[in-house]
């Protein structure tokens, strides 16, 4: 559970070959969401990343603010020639999102990190991904 932890000031972004990995494990206050959005965009360019995997399996809610940020990240990364996949959304979060009216247009999702990584690799084609020796 996330409850009780003090709010963090940034979320770590890990570089793995051509991919950036983000695992959100803290309670997301709005400033933190904006910081993540900015930092990810910069790091996509800095590392010439081709794929971004965002794991939200620890997130207990996704409200309209976080949902919008995920959409922004997906759109900005696409413009920068990187694919974003959001993985691990909890079923209760998905049900709530639909009722809230948020359909996460343009955001690709996968059930878990493994499936998400496969999705990114496929979209990059045969030359893409770690196995092709990208760095």
């Amino acid at each position: 559970m996330l409850d009780g932890k003090p709010p963090a000031e940034r979320i770590p972004i890990l570089k793995l070959g051509e991919f950036l990995l983000v695992t959100i494990q803290v309670e997301m206050h709005d400033r933190l969401v904006m910081t993540l959005q900015d930092e990810l965009t910069h790091q996509i360019v800095r590392h010439r990343a081709r794929g971004v995997l965002i794991d939200i399996s620890a997130l207990e809610i996704v409200d309209s603010f976080i949902g919008r940020a995920l959409g922004n990240i997906a759109n900005m990364s696409r413009i920068l020639d990187a694919e974003t996949v959001v993985v691990g959304m909890r079923p209760a979060v998905a049900i709530t999102l639909v009722e809230l009216g948020l359909n996460l247009d343009g955001v690709r999702t996968a059930l878990n990190a493994e499936k998400g990584m496969a999705l990114i690799r496929r979209s990059l084609g045969p030359a893409g991904g770690l196995d092709a020796g990208g760095s």
Partner: protein, 134 residues
């Protein structure tokens, strides 16, 4: 309807919005809400607490446990002394926004609640009250 117990929270910062979510979650768990119902009420609380902060310039959230016979409910009241909403029906429409948001906050919170009530007057502030019954 009289509340069985209540708790007041300030809404003055991003961290306070997070706190409203956490405390709402604790109460919903305590009342035995299902995981989906917990998620719905916490999400609605997040939208409305953010409205209180951004549009109302800060305010408060009151969390109350209601009992109606054998029914248990959680009532949340968000109150601010901000500029108020000139056109409430318009503000409830999806996609209507005065700020940088998606305009889903009010309408979305209403859909996630069993009961929804809003009182707003120009120059006097806004009070939004939602209830979710178990």
């Amino acid at each position: 309807m009289p509340a069985v117990r209540e708790e007041m929270l300030d809404v003055r910062s991003d961290e306070d919005v997070v706190r409203v979510r956490q405390i709402t979650r604790q109460w919903a768990v305590g009342l035995g809400f299902s995981l989906v119902d917990q998620t719905k009420i916490v999400t609605a609380a997040s939208e409305l607490a953010r409205n209180t902060l951004i549009h109302g310039g800060g305010g408060s959230t009151r969390i109350e446990e209601l009992r109606d016979g054998s029914r248990h409910g959680l009532r949340l009241t968000f109150e601010d002394k901000g500029p108020g909403i000139a056109d409430v029906p318009q503000a409830l429409r999806d996609g209507y926004t005065t700020g940088s948001g998606l305009g889903l906050g009010l309408g979305g919170a209403r859909r996630l609640s069993s009961e929804f009530d809003i009182v707003s007057a120009a120059g006097q502030g806004t009070r939004v009250r939602i209830t979710r019954w178990k």
